[in-house]
Subunit: 71 residues, 6 copies
């Protein structure tokens, strides 16, 4: 199923630069031109999507999940 567009406002395109696997969840670090973005997903999804270091991906975040801190 190809998705044309998703509602999530925040999308960071890049390549996977590191994967740490464990039986249930894995950490995927995406390198983007402006810094890295870390994600925790199920290891099952990691396998089903065939994600590897170097894969081109988009890290996606819903606006309701973003906190704002004042400096």
């Amino acid at each position: 199923m190809t998705i044309a567009a998703i509602n999530a406002r925040n999308q960071f395109r890049g390549h996977i630069i590191e994967i740490i696997e464990s039986p249930v969840v894995s950490e995927v670090v995406v390198g983007t031109p402006f810094g890295s973005v870390a994600s925790v997903i199920t290891t099952r999804s990691l396998k089903e999507l065939g994600l590897k270091v170097g894969s081109e991906v988009v890290a996606i975040v819903k606006a309701t999940e973003v906190s704002i801190a004042k400096l």
Copy 2:
């Protein structure tokens, strides 16, 4: 209470470029080197933090909230 550091892996520093207010929640758009990052927070927090267009802030996202899509 000043916070020295927070566990959230993903922190995007920038300035607020737009605020859309409503009685319960407001959308805050932060301009960052990654592009703009949108956040929905309670309007009460917006007021308590005194957030305005131009405020220097950090948009923060837990790694467990980040999805990965394949292109």
Copy 3:
């Protein structure tokens, strides 16, 4: 940008049966074979995606967001 696949384990395909709009966030109800699935997204995303009653969509949920209750 077309997305080939997303990590989120839980995808519920259906048609939008109701939209309640407000200035910042809107509620979108998707009729699926599982029953209706309710989503709150930014009204800006609603507009940018051109979502309307009848649009064919997928409601997507990360596994880390699903709670389990015992009966």
Copy 4:
């Protein structure tokens, strides 16, 4: 403490069909009449609730956690 009702709009009733355990979090897959729903919860909660393959449960998702993708 018995709960009469919860605000989460999206409730999927079914039986647990698979559990993958690890020391901190576990994946619980709930089979429903319309497909399976995956959840990641703490292993401590898994134990405290006494969840096993076959347990009758409800998978619950807040509407603010649901994304919408267009096909």
Copy 5:
């Protein structure tokens, strides 16, 4: 449907002390013996549960949604 128990590790019992309504989402503030806990839920859920100032409720949070900051 009565729920016997839910996996969410963090449960704060108290009474509703304030409700701010808007068409899509509402803010519910729960007073507990140790301070107040704020929640944003859909206004539809607010109505369906019949929540009012004074209602006895439990505010519930999944462990994966809790961030840790160092002082």
Copy 6:
């Protein structure tokens, strides 16, 4: 980077009373006047923040992540 304030409405101050580590995520239990609050964070954050049993911390939760159940 020191943070002056964060939008999250719900902040529970206390000391870490237990840590369960695994390669990707760890569970951190914070003892607070509200009772204990459990959090799942990446093990990498746990290390970077130097969190240990006894560390003084704040457990933080966005209002949009809080569910309300009726008794």
